[in-house]
Symmetry: C2
Subunit: 344 residues, 2 copies
């Protein structure tokens, strides 16, 4: 018995110790996390808090500025931590947000949360749920530094008989203003290496899913040069799926931050800045018209709008019938967005 | 007989003569317009072409620049004329667009076109239709000149038995960056005078409808200070409904252009320009997330995206958690958007 008590005390210290490195205390009380430390909700919350801190610190280092950290609470249960840096040295706007929400869903709402729309049965039609995730969009000032987005999330829903339905979703994707094949290779290759540790089909399947998901239908072009995207991941086991998410979150720094160092001091012209602003306009179009997360957020009463729309750039531009010159670097970028490529 | 021929010839000349003053030839062949000159489709097409020319000329005069006129064709039938002035003296972006489209609708699509969703029966489930309208958004450079939007449209659908369903819709609304009560009064009063010629309930009813329609739910604020908005207008008679539309289109110059002259040379600060840019961001949010015309356009294959998104400003801004100082002119504007007022 004595040894067990000591072991628990050590692990408690671990969680507390970990929290010290976070951007803020986790959303859930540290004591509750300690009590439920074996549960997936706890492990995922700690992972996304850790990822947030790791990514924010790496961005602060390359930028020289400091993130502003906001904690917010959701009346219906849970809350979030939004870290934002705005109009700084390297970044025009960079947001890294964690949210952990829980409560009860109707059967209809539960059905909509899963992209495959599985039917779930709740007690009196209500299902206790827990949803959490990390979401980030980084818009740099220099048009030669690409924009990156990633999101990793976990859902858990309890059915009438007490059994739990759970699944993971997420992805990381890159939106450059100008094509740089070396950057595209590094980015995709880092993601592929993380995927390959878990399943040989993950990278090819999730790369395709990404191109499909980030398609701006009314423009006939993808938002960027892709990456990976997946949803409803509930196999082969919870442990292995979580291991995959951990591999994914551990790539966010190595797949992006080297590109920032590489290009942050690149010279650029007013014309290149203008093209970046026009591409930012397309980014806004995707996010407001198609993005499932944004649509879900805007339609959900009590959601924190500022955290949802944190992904919008500081500045964007819409010119009527702008068409890049044939053979230009702008036309080259458009061509790739119209016909997604294989990068590896 | 002789006198009848002369009369027709004179009217033909009238249409040709009228066309000379337009920004471009109408969408429909002049000969077809002459053949069908008594029909509502023809009368409405001439009215919107006339309104486009009148408004564009008035804006050119106050700006000093020239509109660029694009004619475009719709593969499935019809087309449009888009007039745009961009990054000019007074206007950052001003678009005035006419479209006239026709073809066949499915019963489902016909149902969706009417906001009340009336069921219409077509031959083999297909209904010949004709839809036309004028749509305009003017974004000035100076933050003290308000943004204006108007849209007037006509639909006609032929049912299985050959009978025609028709209705008008439209509205004009103002989006200032800073509140100016005198401007608000002039704008609303001009609209009310036009409405009152036709029905005492039009202004109060359509003013409320406008506040309701331009509500940005996720922000809890209206897009601007309103105006009038209506749809499905099919009474008391086609002639009288068209008369009302004519009264509305004849107000677009007097309700807006005087405000441009009044404020185009107002001094403004960088802070005021910034607030304008943030409000432009909200304009984008409304147009991409809620506007029925934009949503319908983006989802319609073969529609001309550049004409639909012409309404987006040249530049917009999103700052994380921007909140105006208490008692400031920015806070005063927000207050009005959160609690729509009566202006008359």
């Amino acid at each position: 018995m004595a040894s067990r008590v000591i072991q628990v005390a050590e692990q408690d210290d671990d969680i507390l110790e970990k929290c010290k490195g976070f951007m803020s205390l986790p959303v859930t009380d540290v004591q509750v996390l300690q009590e439920k430390k074996g549960e997936m909700c706890t492990r995922m919350e700690l992972l996304i808090m850790e990822t947030q801190a790791e990514f924010c610190r790496a961005l602060e280092k390359v930028d020289g500025g400091k993130f502003k950290t906001d904690r917010w609470q959701r009346k219906e249960g849970g809350g979030g931590i939004s870290c934002v840096i705005q109009d700084s040295n390297v970044f025009e706007k960079a947001g890294v947000s964690v949210s952990v929400v829980f409560g009860h869903l109707t059967e209809e709402a539960a059905k909509q949360m899963k992209s495959r729309g599985k039917v779930l049965k709740g007690k009196d039609g209500k299902l206790p749920f827990c949803a959490m995730g990390i979401s980030s969009v980084i818009h740099p000032k220099n048009p030669h530094v690409p924009t990156v987005h990633f999101n990793y999330r976990y859902f858990e829903i309890e059915e009438e008989d007490g059994s739990k339905q759970w699944w993971f979703g997420g992805g990381t994707d890159l939106t450059p203003t100008y094509l740089n094949e070396e950057d595209a290779f590094l980015f995709h290759n880092t993601l592929k290496e993380a995927c390959d540790k878990h399943h040989p089909q993950y990278y090819p399947d999730f790369k395709k899913w990404c191109d499909r998901y980030f398609y701006v239908r009314h423009r006939g072009e993808t938002r960027g040069i892709g990456g990976i995207f997946f949803d409803d991941l509930d196999s082969p086991s919870q442990e292995e799926a979580f291991g995959f998410i951990r591999s994914c979150t551990s790539t966010v720094v190595p797949c992006y931050v080297p590109l920032v160092y590489k290009h942050r001091d690149d010279a650029f012209t007013a014309e290149e800045k203008r093209w970046q602003q026009l591409r930012r306009g397309r980014y806004v179009e995707f996010n407001l018209v198609y993005d499932r997360g944004v649509k879900f957020g805007l339609a959900t009463p009590g959601s924190r709008i500022e955290s949802i729309l944190m992904s919008l750039p500081l500045t964007a531009k819409w010119e009527y019938t702008h068409e890049p010159e044939e053979g230009s670097r702008e036309a080259e970028m458009l061509e790739v967005l119209r016909t997604p490529r294989e990068w590896l």
